[in-house]
């Protein structure tokens, strides 16, 4: 356990060593933005839209009292999406998609000696392979989560429009209510997302980069990457909520 933590820290240190050639690292950074962020956008939008839609139906169905205004539904959807669903649930989804992708990519490179080839050439393999992934995820994941927020609200709005479960105007009013607090909630969500982005990419990279064995181990590393990333996301979620919200 301590040895693994030590290796993880050394790996993180190696990321910050001076790049051999900045232009090549920049190209890797752009590629990773596409790979990790833009290629995840469709699934994020799809999930967020349906989450928003389901939240509207569930919330509206449990609020039966005539004393509770309709805009409460919009308010509840907003709070749920901003505080928990978008940053945490979507990050858990990304841990599954991106985490397994990173671990299997690096694991395969290890097994097929591509990482050794980089090292023999004199390239800082951690900096070249992992550094751009971490930096790209820190940059793109918060943007992806903002898309998630927007499409989550949109999903809820479409349900209101098509089913008339509550009037769309009431839903929008709920979303916009207590607007002075919204900026703080978004900031909280983006801080959480940045921490989760770092955890997903660094933990998954660790399991892929230090893989030993063959094809079977690539699969195991991929599973471990998802499991450990998810567990650490949940722990970090609790700690950050305690630190920021209370």
């Amino acid at each position: 356990m301590i040895q693994a933590f030590g290796k993880y820290m050394v790996m993180l240190y190696s990321i910050f060593l001076k790049p051999e050639k900045f232009s090549i690292y920049w190209k890797r950074f752009v590629d990773e933005i596409i790979q990790l962020g833009l290629k995840s956008l469709f699934i994020v939008i799809l999930m967020s839209g349906f989450m928003g839609a389901v939240l509207v139906i569930q919330t509206a169905s449990v609020i039966e009292s005539a004393w509770i205004p309709d805009y409460t539904v919009g308010f509840t959807v907003k709070q749920s999406m901003l505080l928990e669903f978008c940053p945490t649930i979507i990050s858990l989804i990304l841990a599954g998609k991106v985490g397994s992708n990173i671990a299997s990519e690096l694991g395969t490179m290890r097994v097929t000696e591509q990482i050794d080839a980089l090292e023999v050439m004199g390239v800082n393999s951690v900096g070249y392979l992992i550094g751009p992934k971490i930096i790209a995820s820190l940059f793109i994941f918060p943007i992806v989560i903002m898309y998630s927020m927007f499409f989550g609200f949109l999903g809820g709005g479409l349900v209101c429009f098509f089913t008339e479960i509550i009037p769309v105007e009431q839903y929008i009013e709920g979303i916009r209510s207590f607007s002075e607090e919204n900026f703080g909630y978004v900031r909280y969500a983006l801080i959480k997302t940045s921490v989760f982005a770092f955890l997903i990419t660094s933990i998954s990279s660790y399991f892929g980069y230090f893989l030993k064995g063959g094809a079977l181990e690539v699969g195991k590393a991929s599973t471990k990457a998802v499991v450990y990333s998810s567990v650490f996301i949940l722990i970090a979620n609790y700690i950050l909520t305690q630190l920021i919200l209370i």
Binding site: E20, K21, T112, E113, Q114, A117, M121
Partner: protein, 248 residues
């Protein structure tokens, strides 16, 4: 010239290399031969700096590897080309990009100069009109050739080849062996080939070291190897009935 002196290496409690010493000569194809698991690859990985030996020293000409500072070690690595057993071409890069990778990373050549160098290297290994293909679209033999092209792209002083003809048919294997020998002579490199293929040994073995259970059991050339008296090497060479009959 690369000199290894009294190299030992263990993993956990298992000793893989035991007091190995040898001189790999410049301009010659130096072979490390031995059975699978005898320690050939570990010795090579110690020499290129992927593993740290427990004891002993490695000298690249007059540079002692263990005494080099990280920057000097990086510089030395740029003088090394390596051909891996599974070629180790980067899957996400095309043939052209694979060969250009070390040049782009470590030189300030213009795009035209890089293209010229890449095409020269690919032509040298007889890979023509395949620049835009990806490694997965090439045959095993072609992958090895591209890997050789990448290894020589930076005009290395030292070339390491880890079982260059494993998984290849005998004809392609000999083509790869001959290519390595030609390149070695052409660029006056210190080339080290790890192999357990007797065809390669008899084809290109100018300076051979036989390793058995981590020990250097015999050194010599292809002209001497068939008359060897060392039991382990004799058993290694004459394992096939064909060679046994040939000897009789």
């Amino acid at each position: 010239m690369i000199t290894v002196k009294h190299i030992s290496k263990s993993f956990s409690d298992v000793q893989i290399l035991k007091d190995i010493s040898f001189v790999f000569e410049t301009g010659k194809t130096n072979l490390i031969i031995g059975k699978s698991g005898s320690g050939k690859s570990v010795l090579t990985k110690c020499m290129v700096g992927l593993y740290e030996p427990d004891h002993g020293d490695i000298f690249f000409d007059d540079r002692k590897l263990s005494a080099l500072k990280p920057k000097e070690r990086k510089q030395l690595r740029r003088e090394i080309g390596m051909l891996f057993q599974a070629s180790a071409l980067f899957d996400s890069l095309s043939v052209e990009e694979n060969v250009a990778f070390p040049i782009k990373m470590f030189t300030k050549m213009s795009k035209e100069e890089i293209d010229e160098r890449v095409n020269f290297c690919l032509n040298r290994v007889d890979i023509i009109n395949k620049n835009q293909l990806y490694p997965s679209e090439l045959s095993g033999g072609m992958q090895k050739r591209v890997a050789i092209a990448r290894a020589i792209a930076m005009q290395p002083k030292y070339l390491f080849c880890d079982e260059p003809n494993s998984g290849l048919d005998p004809v392609t294997a000999i083509v790869i062996d001959e290519l390595i020998q030609e390149i070695t002579e052409e660029y006056n490199m210190t080339t080290i080939v790890i192999t357990h293929d007797m065809n390669s040994v008899l084809e290109i073995g100018e300076n051979i070291m036989f390793i058995d259970q981590g020990e250097n059991k015999w050194t010599g050339s292809k002209n001497e190897i068939l008359d060897v008296k060392v039991k382990e090497l004799h058993d290694f060479i004459y394992v096939s009935k064909f060679l046994q009959q040939m000897k009789k």
